[in-house]
Subunit: 119 residues, 2 copies
């Protein structure tokens, strides 16, 4: 079985079929790997978790520097990687940037990892 | 909310609580990031998918080099990263190594990514 799946847009939240159902095309793998690489770093994983656990599932950079004990510049860099991967949104209000989870983005990754029998 | 979750073994399939339920401890984040980093690379994602889609959900290195168009040495290196991350098992039979999915490993990652409302 080496079915080639449809090539989907890089930013599509609907990419891709479950990983264990069919062999994955090179294009799908490249798109997906970007997202997993973004969360394959401890600080970014913690930042994602901190944003999600924050009141209203939205957090200001100013809320995130102390829990991870890093400078605002470093935290902003990691948050940008998560935004570029389509996992967080950024909105600017006044002097601060606020970050929130992209609805469905993590659930979509979960669906791709889940084995069909467990769904 | 900055609950510190229990620190679990690196190789435990039960690590960790869902990412969006509580802020994640530094230790949990480090353990988990290793697994996501392993699949945050297009060739490794394809190899994982190829192994899963292969008959009996097990594949020989000799089955995997052609689909990804890479040398056996490169493919073996990527497979080792997936084994070290606890996602594949390796068993040697005769002159070949066979790789299979670790039961539940991908489902465990899926559970961690899933938002509680979608469970």
């Amino acid at each position: 079985m080496t079915t080639v799946l449809p090539v989907l847009d890089l930013g599509s939240d609907l990419c891709c079929a479950p990983i264990v159902r069919d062999a994955m095309s090179a294009q799908d793998a490249a798109n997906l790997a970007l997202k997993f690489k973004a969360i394959g770093e401890p600080t970014r994983l913690r930042l994602l978790s901190l944003v999600a656990a924050h009141d209203g599932a939205e957090a200001c950079v100013c809320d995130l520097t102390e829990p991870v004990n890093l400078s605002q510049g470093t935290v902003s860099h990691h948050l940008k990687v998560l935004v570029d991967a389509g996992l967080l949104t950024r909105s600017k209000r006044g002097t601060w940037s606020f970050y929130a989870l992209v609805p469905g983005a993590l659930d979509n990754l979960a669906d791709i990892l889940r084995t069909p029998a467990a769904q």
